[in-house]
Symmetry: C2
Subunit: 443 residues, 2 copies
């Protein structure tokens, strides 16, 4: 895992944190990983800030879940009020799920007119796969090379990011991500469309009916590839012609983070058959959903019921509704664009100074900064990315890294992130890079 | 689905509810089902009571999720406070998950010493299957005939309750549930052990390595079979000898509901390899977990990381911790036993009056009442059960039905249910049966 804590370093940590990590190991076991060489101990949060037990302040430039800001008062009030009134399931009639669904679906293209709720993005992906397979009668799924779509057995089968110990499904094929940095003038959309068409052909020649292509519309784990807007169009054309569904995984880019649109696929002016949403939906309260065309829902729903006990529970719905309020009332999509553009410009300035920065990219407040051996070879420099992530952590700015080689800084702060916050991040990034270059042996 | 609303009845409903159901259909589609011939419209809840929009009061004798009572003030306070302080994930250090895990694991046998958190019981079952398959290298899963373990693709494959449109997995075998009512003097435990041994043999002869037997320890969806305590012992002996894991699905019986013990398997004096918990864990807040022996965790964890974004989020953990407080402070396990015994006695009195009641059974506040054509033939009477469920609903007492034939009343109220509440339920049950017999054509 990129930026995972290495237990061999345990002895070097302060007593308090060392003991906590030892308890974690005994209670939770080794599937649980911490971030950073020196894990961060957090006890409170507010807005874009996280606080440690001794009042240390960390600027959060990483967490996309508390998207309208940690512990936003409007969301907290909604949660508190609803928890005191009613928190039950969807087999009784209640207006809340209907009103929220109307608001939510109004943000999608008209063709996407049904919503089914889950608690997590993994469950929503898992449900989307069930829907796609039932509707198409197919089993084949096409994904990108370093995709991550979740941790249920079915979602893990389409998540190569999880590593070799989690095998891909036997009917799962990967295609290269649309690496805009290494495109060398090629049209990444045309190339992806061609690769997807090849994968469909490969399946069919082997008697496997392809069900769906699923992709995160900013290709987060592949390294953040958002531009040029529209590059997904030829891919969706291929899918539509072949009768293969397009599932847009909006768990990371969704809810306005890309700045220009509420949903990442909308930047590409395409309409998926199913969209999957989650993480920022309830600002940390567990709620996620699959949104789909009604014929896909009806085909499944006439035969198969779906009941998720906590899915769309009233408290999570109240939080989700408050999140929509805040995105609108605080004009957060506009802020994501404004601060995102400011950050991009600042990162581009750094690129002019530091030859190790190969590329700077992204949309709104979903940004990537790629480290390379040098700007000509474009050889990924994973070690440098890791040093920078830890260097920023030491400067109390939290981000992480991503991409097939882990050499891409992944910058996804809560949406109220200001240009002043961006300056703190940019200054820390500059200082970390200067220090790393200063202490680096001659090359 | 037992007790599902039939859309053909839409025209007979009041305008307000009819319109809501039409909106539901348009927004959510037909996988979403409502309870009852005349769906219940709920806007508030407190303790063991649910309230409709016009102040109608329903006695809740069904919902096992708000286990310490709807909107319990101690849980509401914990949620509200935590939501205002911090709600983040498990990749930073924080004491809360450690303290709660220590409290939780202290309620399990010493061998079960690791916990991994998810948001839903489905996810916890899905994770338990991943763990069992990785640890054993096997793929075969043994379940009971009408089992239900969840809605992820992997959990649905072991959930025959979902119906024929959801096929069982190719390496899934079913065994008959321990039907104590139709045992005719046979030892249900010995019979189940024999059936499980046969299933293991069947798999091995076909080159399938069995990974696990999974069962709900009160066999809720099979019809509620709890007695005699200890009947699972020979089953677990067979599994241990064969090197097949025993996964205890405690999502329904767990957290003191069975009255005698915190966990259903403990009534049988057996120790599972993995236990799965959920529903009542956070009194409605999404939190669930798999608890396991450390060697199973370590085998998986050394190779495979597990990160569930909302799993063990701070707000759900705060609710879960408050639930443990309330179970202890309000002596709810004792109350479950006391009221459960009182209800059982009352249901047995009804059985003496009504020949349609074939059997009354259960443990604590997890009870079943089985309707039959007559007490000799023991022919299941599903229609009568459905009429009674709806008759109770008309009397504003909420329960549902269960079992392979849907002829078993499923009674699982919140744990603070008192003997006075039980009287309301028993009186309504009596009246509903009298009315049904009165209006029933001669047989």
């Amino acid at each position: 895992m990129v930026n995972g804590f290495d237990a061999a370093r345990l002895g070097s940590l302060p007593d308090r944190e060392r003991k906590m990590i030892e308890r974690r190991q005994m209670l939770l076991g080794s599937s649980y990983r911490l971030f950073y060489e020196n894990p961060v101990h957090i006890t409170k949060a507010k807005g874009v800030w996280l606080y440690g037990p001794d009042g240390e302040t960390y600027l959060d430039a990483y967490n996309n879940v508390p998207s309208v800001g940690h512990c936003h008062p409007h969301v907290v009030d909604a949660i508190s009020h609803q928890a005191s009134q009613l928190n039950t399931h969807t087999r009784y009639l209640n207006d809340q799920i209907l009103s929220y669904s109307e608001r939510l679906l109004a943000t999608f293209p008209a063709d996407l007119d049904r919503v089914m709720y889950t608690c997590t993005g993994s469950e929503a992906v898992d449900l989307a796969l069930r829907l796609a397979r039932y509707y198409t009668g197919g089993t084949g799924i096409i994904i990108t090379e370093n995709a991550y779509h979740g941790v249920t057995a079915s979602a893990a089968e389409i998540s190569p990011l999880l590593g070799d110990s989690v095998p891909l499904g036997q009917h799962v094929l990967t295609v290269p991500a649309p690496d805009t940095y290494r495109a060398n003038g090629r049209d990444v959309g045309a190339a992806l469309a061609q690769d997807v068409a090849k994968a469909i052909g490969h399946m069919r020649r082997r008697g496997i009916t392809p069900a769906a292509f699923i992709a995160d519309s900013v290709f987060s784990t592949d390294g953040v590839f958002a531009d040029p807007p529209g590059f997904l169009k030829p891919v969706v054309d291929v899918l539509n012609k072949a009768g293969v569904l397009y599932i847009a995984d909006e768990v990371q880019p969704g809810f306005g983070r890309v700045g220009s649109n509420m949903w990442g696929f909308a930047r590409h002016e395409v309409v998926p058959d199913i969209a999957v949403i989650g993480k920022p939906m309830g600002n940390g309260m567990p709620i996620a959903a699959a949104i789909m065309k009604s014929d896909i829902q009806e085909c499944f729903g006439q035969d198969i019921r779906y009941f998720n006990t906590f899915g769309a529970n009233n408290v999570s719905l109240a939080a989700a509704s408050a999140v929509l309020d805040v995105i609108k009332n605080e004009n957060l999509m506009h802020n994501a664009r404004k601060t995102g553009d400011y950050l991009l410009a600042g990162m581009n300035s750094l690129k002019a100074t530091f030859t190790s920065i190969g590329d700077v990219r992204g949309s709104g407040l979903f940004l990537g900064l790629e480290f390379v051996g040098n700007q000509d070879s474009r050889e990924p420099d994973s070690l440098l990315a890791l040093k920078v992530v830890n260097g920023l952590r030491d400067r109390r700015v939290l981000i992480s890294a991503s991409g097939l080689n882990g050499n891409v800084l992944k910058i996804r702060p809560p949406l109220p992130f200001t240009c002043e916050n961006a300056d703190v991040l940019l200054d820390a990034l500059h200082d970390a890079l200067v220090e790393i270059e200063r202490t680096r042996p001659n090359r």
